[in-house]
């Protein structure tokens, strides 16, 4: 991370964005987030969700995965995850950062931020 990236203009955008985010989030209900698995990767490396949101994992890969989290208090193990299947996890918990990974392919990693 270079400091140049955090130019004042950008910070202004961030602040504006957060204010915006604050107002929109107040009205938003629990959402579903869809995260794919293809070519031994999650479709996104990180994702922000809100308490109460649901994350649906979809295996659009050609091989079996095993999606787990060993983050304290936020553990789950989605078991054998065949191609074509989808499985959901709801995050009713407090704020937190969840490290999600595949036990078959440890390079498959995803970080969920619960705000």
């Amino acid at each position: 991370m270079k400091h140049g990236i955090f130019a004042p203009g950008l910070i202004a955008i961030l602040i504006a964005g957060t204010v915006f985010a604050f107002f929109t989030s107040a009205s938003a209900n629990a959402r579903e987030h869809i995260i794919g698995q293809a070519n031994l990767q999650f479709s996104v490396p990180l994702k922000v969700i809100k308490p109460g949101d649901r994350v649906t994992f979809v295996n659009n890969d050609s091989v079996v995965h095993n999606i787990i989290s060993q983050t304290a208090g936020l553990q789950f193990d989605l078991g054998v995850f065949e191609p074509g299947m989808q499985k959901s996890v709801s995050f009713n918990q407090k704020n937190g950062v969840v490290d999600v990974e595949c036990t078959v392919h440890p390079n498959m990693k995803l970080t969920l931020f619960i705000f």
Binding site: H33, V104, K109
Partner: protein, 387 residues
């Protein structure tokens, strides 16, 4: 030690995030902004309005099924460079790699001065040892087979159970392992510092700095990144030389990548014929009273019990016997195992299936595996040990 932690820090976003929480929160801050805006606030390519932002991203992921079926795999997927890529903090350098070569072949690195890396990773035996399972210090029988180091530089996770990530981190372990080379750091440094040839070589390679175990590891890693299989019939064929493989070998490749026939591609993926993944392929030894649990030792989850890391298949014809327990004497027995779909069903990988292969298809598949044998640069085995 500081060096090791630095390697770990640059191992990629994922790991960085797992370690640097504060940076992560900062990112998260940015992303929450992105996530809460309606989909069309920041248009990213064509995105049908009926889909939420993240779904349209999903659609943009190219080649979701690139590795499936006969048609999904292109020859160029298997192309590999002549030397494996090196990390930012250990860039390929001729002098360092030459030093690594001497270290690799030098038995003086071991406690009793009799075992070198090459004792177990013997170039004449496909950079492995030809044994069912390895023989360690004082003739002790080790529980697992020696992995070949051919093309090891392309692997993103090392060892049968994935207990190491980077070659720099792995290289020093066998030297201090009591059942392998049984040396101590103190004794290793004392030995190397007493050999003027080494003192000179370290100085020349490392900007005037002397012997250290850190630099031993860096040089060994660098040397191993050069051990790459080239000019095999298959390597020539993927570069467009149609006659490099026989017709039988070409048919064998089709069987290999066809998920309805060989299904090998499911785990032995391009370009290094492996997936940096862990699978329980149902070997008989998993029926033992106290079986080797493999990956489970590193990651305590049901799925990892009896799962081992997929090995590369480049130069595979040279490294019999096969599997982590050495239970297959030759490639024929390997294939028979896969045809059975796994002999132990407990915790068997769901990616394994009973194969229905015609006798000709079986012959072709084995012929193809033989087409993966290439040459290793001769210079990598020519050395004189320093005095």
């Amino acid at each position: 030690m500081c060096y090791l932690s630095r390697i770990k820090a640059v191992l990629g976003l994922g790991r960085l995030f797992h370690q640097t929480r504060s940076l992560m929160w900062f990112f998260a801050f940015f992303i929450i902004v992105f996530n809460t805006f309606p989909a069309n606030t920041f248009p990213v390519g064509p995105s049908p309005t009926s889909q939420p932002f993240h779904l349209s991203l999903l659609n943009l992921i190219p080649a979701a099924n690139a590795a499936t079926g006969v048609n999904g795999v292109s020859r160029s997927d298997w192309l590999l460079p002549k030397v494996a890529p090196s990390p930012e903090n250990n860039k390929m350098d001729k002098k360092k790699a030459e030093l690594g070569k001497m270290l690799f072949f030098d038995p003086r690195l071991s406690g009793d001065g009799r075992t070198s890396c090459a004792t177990c990773h013997d170039p004449a035996l496909g950079w492995s040892d030809g044994l069912t399972t390895a023989t360690g210090h004082n003739g002790i029988r080790l529980p697992r087979a020696t992995l070949s180091i051919v093309n090891v530089g392309f692997n993103k996770i090392l060892m049968w159970d994935g207990r190491n990530i980077q070659l720099e981190e792995q290289a020093i372990e066998p030297i201090f392992n009591p059942v392998e080379m049984n040396n101590t750091e103190q004794n290793l440094l004392k030995t190397l510092r007493s050999i003027p040839g080494y003192v000179k070589a370290f100085k020349e390679a490392y900007w005037g700095l002397g012997v250290s175990s850190n630099r031993v590891a860096r040089s060994l890693a660098m040397y191993q990144r050069q051990v790459v299989s080239v000019n095999s019939p298959f390597a020539k064929w993927i570069r467009g030389n149609e006659s490099a493989m026989t017709e039988s070998q070409k048919r064998g490749f089709e069987v290999f990548i066809d998920t309805n026939r060989g299904n090998c591609i499911t785990c032995h993926r391009p370009p290094n014929f492996m997936d940096n993944g862990f699978h329980n392929i149902g070997l008989l030894s998993f029926k033992n009273k106290k079986p080797d649990l493999g990956r489970f030792s590193q990651k305590k989850v049901n799925m990892t019990k009896g799962a081992f890391r997929t090995p590369t298949l480049w130069n595979i014809a040279e490294t019999a016997p096969y599997f982590h327990d050495g239970s297959a004497k030759n490639l024929r027995q390997v294939l028979n195992h896969y045809i059975s779909g796994g002999k132990t069903r407990t915790n068997l990988s769901p990616n394994m299936k009973v194969l229905r292969l015609k006798p000709e298809e079986q012959k072709d598949l084995i012929a193809f595996l033989n087409a993966l044998t290439g040459e290793i640069d001769q210079k990598l085995t020519q050395f004189t040990l320093p005095r």
